[in-house]
Symmetry: C2
Subunit: 178 residues, 2 copies
């Protein structure tokens, strides 16, 4: 498991100041597996809570982002989640039926629907994300702040640039210039 730099030493001209990363296929594969295993563990917490409640991972994701951005529109949520409106709509309808989410007609544009969590929705979302937060909190605490910074940089770098930009714009509330 120890990352051997397999082949010959090639292309090692050191980048000025920065050390050049020597990335073997083996190391990259380990990174890929780490993503898989970490995500598997990461989703297991909320899944456990949701099971038997008639809700699933899809509902959790919707609850999360509605809680995160109260009033966001259906189209925005579709873009974030990367699903079709039909798929999201099924989930959303179930959440509204259970009084976890409220869908209000848009104020300026009345075609739009602005989504909000109800008190019950807020409570469930808190419960769900608390499980995940606890896992992330522990991992971060054990890894240290430098590792956390690296974690963030790498994960951000893995996103598609345009998606990252759109998410940034949505997540950052309007008045986040300073």
């Amino acid at each position: 498991m120890t990352l051997q730099a397999h082949g010959a030493a090639r292309g090692r001209a050191p980048r000025s100041g920065e050390e050049l990363l020597f990335l073997t296929d083996d190391q990259l594969r380990q990174g890929i597996e780490l993503m898989f295993f970490a995500y598997q563990a990461f989703t297991s917490d909320a899944d456990r809570i949701l099971e038997g409640q008639g809700l699933g991972r899809a509902h959790h994701r919707a609850l999360h982002f509605i809680g995160r951005c109260p009033g966001l529109t259906v189209a925005q949520l579709i873009d974030i989640l990367g699903v079709t409106k039909q798929s999201l709509n099924r989930v959303l309808r179930q959440l509204v039926d259970r009084d976890l989410v409220e869908s209000r007609v848009g104020a300026t544009d009345r075609r739009q629907r602005n989504l909000f969590l109800t008190p019950a929705g807020i409570a469930l979302e808190r419960q769900l994300s608390e499980a995940q937060r606890e896992r992330v909190r522990r991992a971060w605490r054990d890894a240290g702040s430098e590792a956390v910074a690296g974690f963030r940089r790498v994960l951000e770098g893995m996103m598609d640039p345009d998606k990252r930009a759109r998410v940034r714009a949505l997540m950052a509330p309007p008045g986040t210039g300073g």
Copy 2:
């Protein structure tokens, strides 16, 4: 529902030597979202290749780990993937039918099946993981080696300890003591 670190400064006794992380709910939530978005991007590459081929993400995962650990048994693969034998068996049968995977009767224990990639399987697995490797490679290169070390530490820390141990044992070939 505890968690309001927001307000007063409490529990701030600095850990000796190590800097104490101030983990607000907000920071943790950002970390959670980062996991979601990065994983979303991360899986999209292989998904694109697989679409229309009659294969899906489940097949990719199986191919990956069979390629990684040639000869591993069905039970080991079930443990790695965290699915039922029925679910895995369907995927495996499709892979065998397409001559991407070979299932050999175990040498020592003939109840077991040892799984291997065929040449065609190796080719497909390479193509799939190359897409993912490219994404990871770019993210790592842009982030620098320290960030990569942090990325790894945090993701490893997110895994369940027993799962991590089992995976380590499986992934490290028998003679990886030195």
